[in-house]
Amino acid sequence: MDRRLWLLLPATVFVLVLFIYPFVYGLSLSFQPMNGGGVFANYQKFFSDAYQRDTIVTTLRIALPAALLNVLAAVPIAFRMRGRFRGKRLMTTVLVIPITLGTVLTAQGLLNFLGPTGWFNRVLMGIGLADDPIRLTNNYWGVFFSLIITGFPFAFLLVLSYLSGIDPTLERAAATLGASRSQRFRRITLPLLAPGLATTFLLTFVLAFSVFPSAVLVGNPAGSTRVISLAAYQAAYEQYDYAYASAIAMIMGAVELVVVAVVLVWRSRLYTGSTGGKG
């Protein structure tokens, strides 16, 4: 056995102690309901209570469209930003800035800007597009916008990164053979980009799926944006029922892993070889 494998030891110990062990601990805790009952009592409690059960749908209804929009919007924009041009670095920096905003500034900003007396509604009413202020905060849309603001730059960077990894000579070759621009995109770029898009979607989805602070701050945490992480948090830190909280966390992880698995299976059916861009 190669001695260099020992280098893997610290990381392996770390992941076992700080990730696998707590996870297993949480899983077993979730089968030991605080108030007695069967092994699955916590899970039964969650699924028999519509107020709790619906958090799954609520979370997916926010996270899936937000992640999808972020990835789909990133493709054409990244496509136009390939290659070298003056101001590219500035443009990338500007697109990255929203990452620094943080949930609270985004939340405060959305409340100020999109609120009933905010600039957005003032402009809408000023140019006569609306008679009354449109409600865009403290509901679904507030959370959705906050996920776009924080998620899009991230998705864009990843897509741009994958796109610059595709060897431009492939497209040039296709062009020489007479392929039109849309043919080149559909037959060359898109298949090579698809695995990257799947990864980007997954990472943005994970970000959106765990949305918690913005669901409280710009959403309607008792109703339309009561996401599953909020249910888990309330169980742990408001009812101090760690067993139930762990059960909710496990359900949350399971739902999330189902989406991840679907995307990964779809991805594995795509071409996964090198994009030919290794320099």
Partner: protein
């Protein structure tokens, strides 16, 4: 943005007839209707984003701001208030210490593992890789709640050590993932040559690999730093009153509405964002964000 709206529309030259997009040659401006639509959407996004950020900035300097376009007057008092009331100096110190510890520890643990994963094949490699990937693929709350419970059990949570340990969970895998492509890029023949000339493993690491990997190390360290300063969930679940980082303190000040003047929260958010911005600008000096996942030689100037 204005610097490149003109040049961004510069499109690849004619498809047929010679190699289009020839290296370094200024390309012909051909803006298609789709291009205009896309740039209009981008512009709309940025106008609104500017509104979101601008309204916070204006509010943080504003006196009273109700149903008008702008506040009635301007002042810097909210910054002073935020600084004193929230004990920001302490909070910022905690944030920086915790993040620095997370960066150092995750690089020390992650980089050697990245090296093995990039270079060696061994039975069960895929399983090991998947295990390292999982913490990134799971939302922090899912493992954060069991992790916080365990950390409370052993007396780490509520202190700085708990915050650091919890933040290591996504950071170490992140270092491994970002470092692996950098290591793969280093030609193994360089190492073999050094070994043939009698260098031991230690010497190979310190004299050959470390200098070549400085860009990769910096890249992952800075990204971990930005991530940790911005990490809300894990810190929120494990921090005690004395170990709150800036994001968590901010969240508390905003969710406990009515106690604080809204402008004071705005001022604090501006302070947080300025700090993140400085970190990110520093990061962008070392890391080309477009080369994070696929390393490509940029076309020569």
């Amino acid at each position: 943005m204005s610097a490149n709206t003109s040049s961004a529309a510069v499109r690849t030259g004619r498809p047929a007839g010679g190699p289009p997009a020839a290296t370094g040659v200024r390309r012909v401006l051909r803006a298609t209707p789709t291009a205009w639509v896309i740039w209009a959407v981008v512009l709309f996004f940025f106008v609104n984003l500017a509104g979101v950020v601008g309204s916070v900035l204006v509010s943080s300097f504003g006196r009273r701001w109700f149903d008008t376009w702008l506040p009635t007057g301007f002042t810097t008092q909210w910054y002073g208030e935020a600084w004193h009331e929230f004990g920001l100096l302490h909070v910022i110190t905690v944030t920086l210490i915790a993040s620095a510890l997370v960066v150092v520890l995750s690089v020390l643990v992650g980089a050697p593992a990245a090296y093995v994963l990039a270079r060696q094949n061994f039975p069960g490699k895929r399983l090991v890789y998947l295990t390292f990937l999982l913490p990134i693929l799971m939302p922090p709350i899912t493992y954060g709640i069991p992790l916080a419970t365990v950390l409370y059990k052993f007396g780490f949570a509520g202190h700085l050590s708990g915050v650091v340990l919890a933040n290591l969970v996504p950071s170490v895998p992140f270092v491994i993932l970002t470092m692996t492509p950098f290591i793969e890029q280093v030609d193994p023949r360089i190492e073999s040559a050094a070994r043939m000339l009698g260098a031991g493993t230690r010497a190979v690491f310190l004299k050959i690999l470390a200098p070549l990997l400085v860009p990769g190390l910096l890249a992952s360290a800075i990204l971990v730093l930005v991530r940790t300063v911005g990490m809300f969930e894990l810190t929120f679940l494990t921090a005690g009153p004395d170990s709150q980082t800036l994001v968590v303190a901010l969240y508390y000040s905003m969710s406990a509405a009515g106690i604080r003047a809204q402008q004071s929260v705005d001022a604090m958010a501006v302070i947080y964002t300025s700090m993140m911005l400085v970190l990110l600008v520093v990061a962008l000096r070392f890391v080309n964000p477009t080369q994070l996942v696929a390393r490509v030689k940029e076309e020569p100037e």
